[in-house]
């Protein structure tokens, strides 16, 4: 007997029911995917661009979805890749690497209208921005989203062991930075 996800996926693939099903998909996942993207790119306008491209990509690739993973992890994967591509493209245009670009974005948070965190929150975001790409992603998904390692492994297409190591290193680096009185 088909489960509800399989039935929903079928309705996404059938031309007659696709539009209604996709409307439902957007309604259900827009906020969750947006916040995932926002935590990666930091800025609202950038997140808006990325999330719209993400949903368009999801729509265009519905027929290619093989159900090897859940719909949720598949969409998260697309959102993650779109975010990283966005960062890499922007950084490349500015002649920076992605970490340098992220650090500059974190520096701009203090003046950002759509960020109202206190000093500690600001320092945390700056510390996160100094992490390598994978550690940054794992940290966001584990610390802020409280995702299980299995789910993160599916999204990032990596092993649970590698993720645990990445998270451990990320936490250690962030702690070192936050404990450093000269770190701002």
């Amino acid at each position: 007997m088909e489960n509800s996800q399989s039935i929903f996926i079928q309705s996404l693939k059938e031309p007659e029911t696709r539009e209604a099903a996709f409307n439902k998909l957007v309604k259900q996942y827009k906020e969750r995917l947006y916040w995932h993207v926002r935590k990666i790119v930091l800025n609202h306008d950038d997140a808006n661009d990325v999330i719209q491209n993400t949903f368009i990509k999801i729509f265009l690739n519905l027929d290619n979805f093989q159900e090897n993973s859940t719909l949720f992890t598949w969409m998260y994967r697309i959102a993650t890749n779109e975010s990283l591509n966005f960062i890499n493209t922007k950084a490349s245009k500015m002649g920076l690497n992605s970490t340098e670009w992220m650090e500059s974005k974190a520096d701009n948070l203090e003046a950002d209208t759509y960020f109202d965190g206190d000093k500690a929150a600001l320092q945390l975001q700056k510390a996160i921005s100094t992490l390598p790409e994978k550690q940054r992603l794992v940290f966001n998904m584990k610390y802020f989203d409280a995702m299980k390692y299995d789910t993160i492994a599916d999204i990032l297409d990596t092993s649970v062991g590698a993720l645990k190591a990445s998270y451990h290193h990320a936490v250690k680096k962030i702690k070192t930075q936050l404990d450093d009185p000269s770190f701002e």
């Binding site: 309604k27 719209q52 368009i56």
Partner: protein, 143 residues
């Protein structure tokens, strides 16, 4: 016989409340970043509308171009037949064909071969010695 009342008739798994506290803290933590990041008012309503509009345009433009491949192939073949009917290819006159062949032989074949090599390919019976007979030569001189 009336059994004494069990004040705690329901059971929970061992360590349940410890885990519950941890799970609740995790849920609280998941709101951390969202608390610090903000969005414009009614952003998510706007986002939904914009995404669905863009996707709707994609869907409609894709549906206009749907022709089966066999129809495209038939159309192409029909166009070729029409052109051939209007402009039928003309057969080449025999003389023209011979001229082309001899031009080819002269330009590409004979020029590449030394005259001495050429004679090597010829056999004695290829030469008509009659034309070199004294009588024929004499007749030529008189012409």
């Amino acid at each position: 016989m009336i059994r004494p009342l069990n004040k705690k008739p329901f059971q929970v798994p061992e360590g349940y409340f410890d885990q519950l506290e941890k799970d609740l803290l995790k849920i609280g933590n998941s709101q951390k970043s969202e608390v610090n990041f903000k969005t414009p008012d009614a952003y998510f309503d706007t986002l939904e509308k914009e995404v669905l509009e863009k996707v709707s345009k994609l869907d409609h433009s894709a549906s206009k171009k749907t022709y089966p491949l066999w129809m495209t192939a038939v159309g192409f073949a029909a166009a070729i037949v029409l052109v051939l009917l209007i402009f039928p290819p003309q057969p080449m006159p025999e003389a023209q064909e011979e001229l082309l062949v001899s031009d080819y032989i002269e330009e590409y074949y004979l020029n590449a071969i030394d005259s001495y090599e050429l004679t090597a390919y010829m056999e004695d019976n290829d030469f008509n010695m009659e034309i070199y007979s004294p009588q024929n030569l004499s007749n030529e001189n008189n012409e």
